[in-house]
């Protein structure tokens, strides 16, 4: 009995290596197509959409309105601290509402007789830069006393005005005076990081009245000039305002006129008024 074995027709299979080559070609082709597509997209992004040619043009998307860029605030140019604060627009008395004044007996007179309203005063007759850096306790605090810098640290101010130096004449060199003054500026900056710091020139004296009132011989306008030069340099180094208040009170000879001077060193009310007027017109604020 013959058994019929159904045999499947045999097909000649392609060799395996050919399949591998074909697969590689397909992969390369795909890779090429994809790469081209991406490249075109990038190019389109750079050069804008190419015009499409078609019978019915696709609706052009309404371009979104370009937001108007917010005006970039122009940073105020840094003041020129190498020069004294120039004459500017006069400010009202409320300018001093956030100010504190540090100084000696001249600042005390300024507080009492200039007509200033507002502002705090940390002044003491006869005080020097050295007293302040050493922490001498001179500011009344209830039944006790605290130092100027301790008192300064109790409140934040917008402006710190300093007027010192006439009591240091004859005791120290201009360099040592400026060095100690610089320590005070550093301390003020640390305690009042947001405040504008103004150092005021030492106002000259009336020599004749000084002699008549027994003011010490070393209190001279020559000494004051040397100290003021050191202060101007210090202001530039420390980047603080230098107020040449002296120019508001001296006459053409460089002296405080007799009528504005009390005892040679301190002023009459008229002198303190001139001082305040100078501060209201020399703020460093640029219009």
């Amino acid at each position: 009995m013959s058994q019929r074995v159904e045999q499947k027709p045999t097909r000649s299979r392609p060799p395996r290596w050919l399949l591998v080559v074909l697969a590689a070609c397909v992969a390369l082709l795909l890779l090429f197509v994809l790469t081209r597509g991406g490249g075109d997209a990038g190019q389109a992004a750079e050069s804008g959409p190419e015009p499409t040619v078609s019978a019915l043009p696709a609706p052009t998307p309404t371009p979104e309105p370009t937001p108007t860029p917010a005006p970039t605030p122009t940073p105020a140019p840094e003041p020129d601290y190498t020069q004294p604060v120039p004459l500017g627009e006069k400010v009202e008395m409320d300018w001093f509402a956030d100010a504190v004044f540090i100084g000696d007996s001249r600042t005390d007179g300024f507080k009492l007789y200039s007509g200033i309203s507002g502002g705090d005063f940390l002044d003491y007759t006869g005080i020097t830069t050295f007293d302040i850096t050493k922490g001498k306790k001179v500011i009344r605090d209830g039944n006790g006393k605290i130092s100027v810098l301790d008192a300064l640290g109790r409140k934040q101010y917008g402006k710190v005005y300093i007027s010192l130096g006439v009591n240091e004449l004859g005791y120290f060199s201009a360099e040592r005076f400026a060095s100690t003054y610089g320590q005070i500026i550093d301390a003020v900056r640390e305690l009042q990081p947001d405040a504008a710091v103004y150092i005021q020139s030492i106002i000259p004296v009336n020599t004749a009245k000084c002699k008549a009132n027994g003011i010490p011989y070393y209190v001279t306008n020559e000494g004051i000039t040397a100290y003021n030069a050191a202060l101007a340099q210090l202001a530039a180094e420390k980047k603080v305002y230098f107020l040449n208040v002296s120019e508001a009170l001296v006459d053409e000879t460089g002296e405080v006129p007799r009528e504005d001077s009390a005892d040679g060193v301190h002023f009459q009310k008229s002198g303190y008024i001139k001082w305040l007027d100078y501060l209201t017109t020399h703020t460093g604020v640029q219009n």
Partner: protein
């Protein structure tokens, strides 16, 4: 006779005390008394008037408690000073008197090395309360001040 003399003496003493007591309780008049003292020759410095708000800050007196005042000071040449305050009650006057005494103490300390000649004036400083008012005088010559106080 002895009894009559004793009685008379007691009566005179009582009258004197009453007169003194009455005077002490009459408050100072800021404007009028300041003028009297300024014109009395007690001061050698030409004192300048100090505004009320600044004066209150100077002495550490609560301005809201002050009814009236007259304050004059030196512009820096001397320690001379004149201040008269009136208040609505004794307590505020008492607080102010302490403030004026503190002021004298502070000035003594400050001027000891700065203007030692002026300390003498501070040594004789007058601080006095009368009724609801207080007085401070730092003068060069206290004779006219005593005359004023005796009235």
């Amino acid at each position: 006779m002895k009894k009559i003399l004793s009685g008379l003496l007691a009566a005179v003493l009582c009258l004197s005390l009453a007169a003194c007591g009455g005077k002490e309780e009459t408050p100072f008049d800021p404007a009028a008394d300041a003028k009297t003292l300024l014109d009395s020759g007690a001061f050698t410095d030409g004192l300048e008037e100090i505004d009320r708000d600044i004066a209150c800050t100077l002495y550490g007196i609560d301005e809201t408690t002050v009814s009236d005042c007259a304050v004059y000071g030196s512009t820096g040449a001397t320690a001379e000073e004149l201040a008269i305050f009136t208040f609505s009650n004794h307590d505020d006057a008492g607080t102010a008197l302490t403030a004026l005494q503190n002021r004298v103490a502070d000035r003594k300390e400050a001027l000891a090395s700065y203007q030692p000649d002026e300390v003498t004036k501070l040594e004789g400083a007058v601080t006095q309360a009368r009724g609801n008012s207080v007085l401070l005088v730092i003068a060069a010559d206290y004779t006219p001040v005593e005359t004023f106080l005796k009235g």
